[in-house]
Structures are given as structure tokens and as C-alpha cells.
Amino acid sequence: MTAGEVIDRIKKNLGAPWRDTTYRDTFKFGGPETVVTGIATTAFVTLDVVKRAAAARLNMIIPHEATFWSDRDDTALVGRDPLYAAKVELMKKHDIVVFRIHDHMHAQRPDFTFVGSARDVGLDSRYETAPGSHRFVIPETTLGALAADVKRKTGARALRVVGDPAAKVSRIQLGVGYATPVINTPDVDVVISGEQQEADGGFDGPSYVVDATTLGLAKGWIMLGHVISEEAGMLEMAAWIKGFVPEVPVQLVKAEEPFWIPN
């Protein structure tokens, strides 16, 4: 079983056309000829993920995000840092092969990042207004109670919230990663997503929620962090790959939330 064969099966089973123009969904380390002993899915190919995957004899890593700390895995940018050489050395030592699945994961139906995040934060599919809408209408609660519930269910230490904790909310739009949905829309009370800049972005963002809150409008913004938001769905990704790669073990090896918060 080679890495190339695994990727061929992924492409065949995707249910959506493969776009060769992607710079994201390519080999980031190693190549198609590498013999695969097992497959690890994860959010990021961290040093620690490499070590734990290797210890479990999973030498093919399929991350949703980057290996070398930028979206384009731009080795020219990081190549002079000794950490880059150390990471390459570690991956060579364990005969690691890395193939990223990002664009095609989001193009796939269902998009497992949403499936995993909804499961992780506790948004039951019976509350989704239409399949794939990622819009949930839950029994009315307060932003404070919702955020506490999401924090407890996800285990996110550094989850961040904007809005009045006492605001009454029920209409939630779920986003994933940096693809945070708009909040300045009348039919959404709360956006739950991974990451978005605080100001000066392409869209509205948390500063809109700050002003809405000052004006007494019930709006909320719950940022899980990028890893918490998108890593849950890598469990679904592992299960899906297992379905057509029965020859080797396939499992989620979590990068885990990177942050802690001071008291």
C-alpha cells in the first residue's frame, strides 16, 4: 500500500471532482511511492503529532491544515529556521509522508469539518434548519449559558466570546476555521466559528458584535480557536478513509488546542 494508492482512492471516493489547481491539497513531505504502515488524520502536522503518529506506526499523516506554519507551506519562508531542519529530520527518520486535505474536504458533501464541529459543540442535527445550511435554531437560551455549554462540551480552554452573557439567543450560524460567517444579518443571533481577525477584515467581525451589544441588541460571537473548530471533523475523515483503505489502521491523532489562559 503506497501513499499514492491512498490518494487515488481518496480522489475516487470523494464524490466531487478533483481540482489539480489546488496548492493546498498536495504532498507536503514524502511522495506517492512511500509505503504506508498506517494513516493519521489531524488538524495540523505539529512536531508532537509526528512523534505520536510515528509511535503508533502511522507514517502517513493527512492534515487539514499546514505542516510548515503557513497556508502555502512555504519552505522558502521558513527554510533558514533551524526548527525547519529539525522537523524535516524527524519526519525523514520515521519515513513520514504528509498529504494535506483542505479544499477538497470543504468541497465534499457533507463537509466533515461542519459535521465534526456540530457534534463537538453539541448542535444536534434536528435543530438544523436545512441539511448543509449550518444554521441551527435551538430552544432559547442565554449567550452565557450557550458559551459555557460549548466550552464544557469542546473542552476548549481559550474559547473567546463577544456579546452580553444575558442576551437571549436561539439562531446560530456555524462556521469552521477562518471561514467565519457574517454576523450582520437579521436572522442570526450567534456565530460560532474557529478564528477571525478582530478588525479590518474583509467582512464585519467581532467589532460589529461589540457595537451591537452596546446598543442592546442580542448578538453573540463564539470563537473556538482554529484547531478546536476543525479538528473534530478529522475523526469523520479518518472513518471515511478507513472505509476504502482497509489494509492499514486509520485513526485521528489530535494536534489539540495550542493555548492556555491565565487566571
Binding site: 508532537d48 506554519w69 526548527l83 460549548v150 450582520n184 444579518t185 478582530e198 493555548f259
Partner: protein, 324 residues
């Protein structure tokens, strides 16, 4: 609406910074509206255009027309009663500016949320996800935009963004301002390098707690690294910075204190640096919080240019909270 007395109390909870500089530079601004009036009548009138022209003339970097640093709302001919600087001209900051008798607000970040900083919601927004709206459909009315515009109109405010030119000034006022807010100005490592400080050995967890207290953060502060790591040298990366900035800074210091980064860049880099066995850390305090020091510096600088009316800094505060 908060009263002037309440707004001072707010400032104390939001940031100790405002308390200090308040006494230092804006006694008249806070005294009473009467003081403002008598001072304003004693000085020749100065318009928003006059203030902005003085900024352009004195800022020390070439003024470029095609930047975000323009008037975002209000009539440039408005006679200025007082100037407020802030990291972001939120509704709360605008209210406190009015309470303080000021009508010119100078903001680092957009007043109307996105980079476009337009006074109306972006066309095509408001319909939620999915199909784009038909062309030529005006954007639906938005209660936040509407209320903010109405407040600006009612109080005759002028809002000017000053970011791209301010951050090009040397030494970098966002760095010197953040260092000043943290009480580190005299702990500079090498003369001229305002990004690096030697703060005396402390654990990463003690440093994080100190940052939280001094900057008045709530839920917006996040840390990477072993809490017990001893840190002594610090690089400041205020605002929003790319991976290149972390690659440049972290190898030569123990810890980066930054505003905002992309989590898939500097956060994952710092995590791997720590996992490789290096005793280092990264503390993110938030983009807005990290820029208040620089805008406080801006208020100090503006008092040297504008003597006719009071100038003060009003911090917007940490937008985030953390559920318990």
C-alpha cells in the same frame, strides 16, 4: 448613556493606562464641560481639517493618499471641541468621547467593522449564506450601522482613521506605547530597538498574569508554552503580524508578546518551537488591546501639535470574555 463620572470609572476597569495619562495630559478634558467651553472660547477655533493637516505635516513619514488613513465620518470643517484617540472607534468609545466633550475621534482600526470602513453595510450582505442577492438590490437596513451613523450625526462627530502612517513612524509608536503601558520603557535591551525588552526573570505564567492585569484584558489573552518556563527577554509584536515577524523575533528572545496572528502561522510555529524543547513562549493579548498603548502615545504626541483643545486617549477595552 454614561455620565462623565461613569465613563471615568469605566476607564479604570478597562485599562489602568487611561488613569495615568489622564492626569498627565488631559486635566481640562475631564474637569467639566464648563472648562471645555471656556477653554474653547479662549482659543481660536480649530477645524478637523486643521488637526489632520498638522498630523500630516508633523508625523515624520511621507503622507500617501491611497491609504486607509482618511475621514470615515463627519464634516471636515467641523470646529473641534476636543480630540480622542483610540484603538477602535466603537459605540462605547464614541459615547465616552461625547461625554468628555470631544468631537474628533482618531482611531487605529475601522469604525464600520470591515476594511472597507463604509458607513453602509456591504451590498449583498444581510441575506445569510447561499445564493447571492439579485444585482442592484440595496443592502437591507442594519440596526447597528443605523444607530452608529445617527449617533455620529447627532453629536457632530468626525472620525479619522490613523493607522498606516502612525505605524510607519519611528520609533514605532505601537511598540513604545505598549512598552509604556507595561512599564517596560526603561528595560529596553538595546538603544533604538523598541521591540525588545529585558524584563527580569519571571515564569511565563507570572508574565501572563502581569500582562492580563496591566492591560486589563478579560477573555482575549491566550498563551503558548510551559507555564513554568523562565522568561527574561521579550519581543513586542503589537497589532496584527505575519509569520515572518515571529520567525524573526522568537529565535532571539524568550517570549513574544503580540496582538493578533494567524493561528495557522505564528501559533503553530510557537507550539513547535516549544515542542522542540526550547524554553520559550508566545502570549497573544488581542489586536485591539495591543494597539491602545500606541494610540495613547498618539494622544501624547497630539498635545504637542494641538494646544487649542484637550486631547485624550480612551481605550476600547478587550472585546472578549471567557466563560467560566
Amino acid at each position: 448613556m454614561v455620565t462623565p463620572k461613569k465613563s471615568r470609572a469605566d476607564d479604570r476597569t478597562v485599562s489602568p493606562l487611561s488613569r495615568r495619562e489622564f492626569g498627565a495630559l488631559t486635566v481640562s478634558a475631564m474637569a467639566a464641560p464648563f472648562a471645555l467651553i471656556s477653554r474653547a472660547t479662549a482659543s481660536p477655533p480649530i477645524s478637523a481639517t486643521d488637526v489632520i493637516d498638522r498630523i500630516k505635516k508633523s508625523i515624520g513619514v511621507e503622507w500617501k493618499p491611497d491609504t486607509f488613513d482618511t475621514i470615515k465620518a463627519g464634516d471636515p470643517a467641523t470646529v473641534v471641541s476636543g480630540v480622542v484617540t483610540t484603538a477602535i472607534a466603537s459605540m462605547s468609545v464614541l459615547r465616552r468621547a461625547v461625554d468628555a466633550g470631544a468631537n474628533l475621534v482618531i482611531t487605529s482600526e475601522p469604525t464600520f467593522y470591515g476594511r472597507a470602513d463604509a458607513r453602509t453595510p456591504p451590498a449583498g450582505r444581510g441575506g445569510g449564506r447561499g445564493a447571492p442577492p439579485p444585482p442592484d438590490t440595496p443592502p437591507p437596513s442594519d440596526p447597528v450601522y443605523t444607530a452608529k451613523n445617527a449617533f455620529i450625526e447627532k453629536h457632530g462627530l468626525v472620525v479619522f482613521r490613523l493607522n498606516q502612517h502612525w505605524r510607519l513612524r519611528r520609533p514605532d509608536p505601537f511598540a513604545t506605547g505598549l512598552a509604556s503601558a507595561l512599564g517596560w520603557s526603561k528595560r529596553i535591551e538595546a538603544p533604538g530597538d523598541v521591540l525588545r525588552y529585558s524584563i527580569g526573570a519571571a515564569s511565563l505564567s507570572a508574565l501572563a498574569a502581569e500582562l492580563k492585569k496591566k492591560l486589563g484584558t478579560r477573555g482575549g489573552i491566550r498563551v503558548i508554552g510551559d507555564p513554568q518556563t523562565r522568561v527574561q527577554t521579550v519581543a513586542l509584536l503589537p497589532g496584527s503580524t505575519p509569520l515572518a515577524a515571529a520567525l524573526d523575533a522568537l529565535p532571539s528572545v524568550d517570549v513574544i508578546v503580540g496582538g493578533e496572528v494567524r493561528e495557522w502561522e505564528s501559533v503553530e510555529y510557537a507550539r513547535d518551537v516549544v515542542a522542540s524543547g526550547q524554553r520559550k513562549g508566545l502570549v497573544l493579548v488581542g489586536r485591539i488591546v495591543s494597539e491602545e498603548g500606541g494610540m495613547s502615545e498618539c494622544a501624547r504626541w497630539l498635545t504637542t501639535l494641538v494646544s487649542e483643545v484637550p486631547v485624550r486617549h480612551i481605550p476600547a477595552g478587550d472585546p472578549y470574555w471567557s466563560p467560566s
